[in-house]
């Protein structure tokens, strides 16, 4: 097959059959399964830290994020993401809303300040395009312009697809983090999420400059721009398929 005949396998909507669950999601699922004795761990192990210089944000930049966000929310992707978060955690007497917990502020930091994997950020942004594409085809308007019942109908619709379910689940995961992580990460102002859920936070809490991606860095070979071509080729070649069998109980 020559290159011109190669089928483009990049999915174009939540319902594209070429969609494959991104690795950052499958890895998280595996971690949950394999960490069944997780709480025996003295150092709980989930996730990964990337501490690249480009993510070092000064206090001045941090302070300006809030002002910046008020402008950014007027257009996509933040307009649609904000609208989706507000629908997922709406205002009601039951408890704080996405606005109350500053979910969009938190997500903005996840996308721009925290060293989030590029694959994950890309997936979140792609979902915005897919959601608005779906909204246009079903309701002839962007998602953020729709009334509550139409939004609910569309989100229920995309949740029937694997991609849509993954996208919504990713945003719900960030709602939990915005609600329950230390306020220095951008959400949970004055511990509103903790108070609502009667959760007593620990102390001391990290301030800006003390968050997980601002800790002293560890040794990294990349600091001297060393590239091991031998290593790279071996790793590509050794990528194994899932075992064809049943894990011994």
């Amino acid at each position: 097959m020559n290159s011109k005949q190669t089928i483009n396998t990049k999915p174009t909507s939540f319902f594209d059959k070429n969609y494959q669950t991104p690795e950052f999601i499958t890895t998280n699922i595996k971690k949950t399964v394999q960490n069944r004795r997780h709480f025996l761990k003295a150092a709980a192990g989930m996730g990964a830290l990337t501490s690249l210089p480009s993510f070092n944000v000064t206090a001045k930049t941090q302070a300006s994020l809030t002002n910046l966000l008020s402008t950014l929310l007027k257009k996509d992707p933040w307009l649609t993401l904000n609208s989706t978060l507000n629908h997922l955690l709406p205002s009601s007497p039951t408890g704080p809303s996405a606005i109350d917990i500053k979910a969009i502020d938190y997500l903005y930091q996840v996308m721009t300040v925290q060293p989030t994997e590029l694959e994950e950020k890309d997936f979140i942004l792609k979902g915005v395009g897919w959601l608005n594409g779906y909204a246009q085809s079903e309701k002839s308007a962007d998602f953020s312009h729709l009334i509550f019942s139409d939004k609910e109908e569309l989100l229920r619709g995309i949740s029937q697809s694997k991609a849509g379910q993954n996208w919504l689940n990713t945003l719900l995961g960030y709602i939990f983090q915005a609600m329950l992580s230390p306020p220095s990460y951008g959400g949970n102002p004055q511990g509103i999420g903790w108070q609502w859920l009667d959760h007593q936070a620990g102390f001391p809490l990290p301030e800006k400059g003390q968050r997980y991606f601002e800790l002293p860095t560890r040794a990294r070979i990349s600091l001297i721009s060393h590239v091991s071509y031998r290593n790279m080729s071996q790793q590509e070649g050794s990528h194994k398929k899932s075992p064809q069998g049943t894990r011994k109980a």
Binding site: N28, A42, L215, R220, Q234, K240
Partner: protein
């Protein structure tokens, strides 16, 4: 005339096995170097931040930079077993336990149960078990007992001695009174008494009073898996390395990844080679070398350290390095207390956060029960320990509340008001009391460390491959103990009681791989934890253990390292200056 060495003692690693050596030798006047792969953090850099500890695992390497390969057993379509390996960068299953100065001791729970005399002679007491490589230790409890007492003083252990059926002999009382306890601790005491159990206070490596330049516990409610910001937790860093450095005789080089211990044709160690923070190669020499990188990484380093006399790895001409790796057998269980079933006073007692439960059961540390269908026909077997605890992490608790079930039984995402109600119910209607079972992980031929032929770390060195086979006897004991623990939860009035015992290894509780023993053909180290084949090489982390006992390892690693420190000090004093 030979070139003088850079240091008297070079220690690779900085955790519970390394820090007593640094502390004792530096205080004795030796010039000590500690090489630690991770950064040097202090109390000022430890926060009660779930994102740091759990969600992003920020005290450990990124798995794409440094990882392991894990071999698990699968069954094919004909039920025939086979071993399949998987990179942890693919599975997301991190095997790192705190790669910083002080190692995993920074993040331990600090349950400091001693081993008991019977743990030192498992084979003599209970006989061999088919397909298990059980051996007695070359030392007895009596030889280690003074060092348990020393750890209690030097590291700081808080506790209270009570009479119970399996109380081990003690030469001293605890130097510090118990740390504050939760109201539920007295619930456990009463329920245990009602059903004939003996709930015992758990000794903790947490200071209940300010001492030795460290603050006492501040009861933030976040302890296990979190770094301690008060200095009360007895990490190797807070309790020992800081004092070692203050002596003026100890240098700690952080972000130094050792990749090889070089040796000459006679098998004498010539230098330790490492990468500094930016990846430049460095080397250092010493009179005595100590390896304590935690069991898997210690075996990996020795296997990677080939030389003319050691073509299969340093001190490995008998092929024993990496063999008989140990974890902790057992599992976990839980029961729920629904607030609606309890009086307001009881609910308030349950909601207290800060102090500790600190209760354990060791009634079945030695099983003597004919109904027990273990390997021993007389119902005699080594049992274990049960500890009780609460979980705190709220993000972890919230996860899962977004999943409902459709009428057809399929998963359905919840949001909006449904999600808010689920969250509120999850967090404010009940509390889960959990237990952990610790029993022996029987050493066996399918649990070992080797070097992977394909996967390398960011420096280009082969990573450790770990085969994690277990013995079914471990499950029998774990299930026996879990049933006992469930009975206590039932007596407490808990609902939804369940437990899970499996052969999945507890990756933070590891030992073995470089057994000590009197037979040089069947062990790597002699009884002083000195390599049989290399006079100036000692291994002082948990690698030495031929069997692991039925309690968390850290206390025994500390105690043995203090014991070996005395041997190393005596050795060092015999060497020309």
């Amino acid at each position: 005339m030979t070139k003088s060495n850079d240091y008297d003692i070079c220690i690779i690693g900085s955790g519970a096995g390394a820090s007593p050596i640094a502390h004792q030798l530096a205080k004795a006047g030796a010039k000590v170097l500690v090489l630690e792969k991770g950064p040097w953090l202090t109390e000022k850099e430890f926060f009660k931040d779930e994102l740091t500890i759990s969600v992003h695992d920020a005290y450990n390497p990124k798995l794409s930079d440094e990882q392991h390969v894990i071999e698990e057993e699968y069954l094919d379509e004909n039920n025939k077993p086979f071993w399949q390996d998987e990179k942890t960068s693919d599975s997301g299953w991190s095997w790192w336990n705190g790669n910083v100065v002080g190692g995993s001791s920074n993040f331990m729970s600090g349950y400091f149960h001693r081993l008991k005399p019977i743990d030192f002679r498992l084979k003599s007491e209970f006989g061999a078990i088919k397909n298990a490589n059980i051996e007695d230790w070359p030392i007895s409890y009596d030889e280690l007992e003074p060092y348990y007492a020393k750890v209690e003083r030097e590291v700081g252990v808080s506790g209270r001695v009570v009479k119970h059926p399996h109380q081990e002999p003690r030469s001293t009382d605890f130097p510090y009174p118990p740390i504050a306890e939760l109201p539920v601790s007295s619930w456990i005491d009463k329920a245990a008494k009602d059903i004939g159990y003996h709930a015992i206070p758990v000794p903790r490596a947490i200071l209940s009073q300010p001492a030795m330049g460290r603050r006492s516990c501040e009861y933030s409610g976040y302890c296990s898996s979190y770094g301690c910001s008060s200095g009360a937790k007895g990490s190797g860093r807070a309790a020992l390395l800081n004092n070692a450095v203050a002596s003026g005789n100890c240098t700690i080089t952080a972000n130094a990844k050792v990749y090889k211990i070089a040796s000459d044709a006679e098998g004498k160690i010539t230098a330790v080679h490492y990468y500094n923070k930016i990846g430049r190669k460095k080397k250092v020499t010493a009179k005595i070398y100590v390896v304590a990188c935690q069991a898997v990484e210690t075996s990996r380093l020795l296997l990677a350290s080939t030389g003319k006399k050691f073509p299969h790895g340093l001190a490995n001409n008998n092929g024993q390095v990496g063999k008989n790796l140990l974890f902790s057998g057992g599992g976990t269980g839980q029961g729920d207390f629904n607030y609606a079933d309890l009086s307001p006073q009881k609910v308030n007692e349950l909601k207290v956060v800060g102090p500790f439960i600190n209760r354990a059961l060791q009634d079945w540390y030695q099983i003597s029960d004919k109904s027990f269908k273990g390997a021993n026909k007389q119902g005699q077997a080594k049992g274990g320990t049960i500890d009780f605890l609460f979980h705190q992490n709220p993000i972890s608790r919230a996860r899962g509340t977004q999943w409902g079930v459709t009428k057809k039984g399929n998963d359905k995402l919840l949001w909006g008001e449904d999600l808010k109600q689920r969250l509120k119910t999850e967090f404010t209607s009940y509390k889960t009391l959990r237990f952990e079972v610790f029993n022996d992980w029987l050493p066996n031929d399918d649990c070992f460390v080797s070097l992977d032929n394909n996967v390398t770390d960011q420096w280009g060195d082969p990573v450790a491959k770990v085969r994690i086979g277990y013995h079914n006897h471990d499950l029998d004991v774990g299930n026996y103990l879990s049933a006992k623990a469930e009975k206590l939860l039932d007596a407490l009035g808990a609902k939804n009681i369940s437990s899970s015992v499996s052969g999945a290894p507890s990756t933070n509780l590891m030992a073995g791989g470089c057994r000590f023993g009197n037979n040089p053909q069947k062990s790597v180290l002699n009884k002083n934890c000195q390599a049989h084949e290399v006079d100036n090489l000692y291994v002082t982390d948990g690698s030495f253990m031929p069997t692991g006992g039925s309690v968390p390892y850290t206390f025994t690693i500390y105690a043995n390292a203090f014991r070996v420190a005395d041997k190393i000090k005596a050795h060092w004093l015999t060497l020309p200056s």
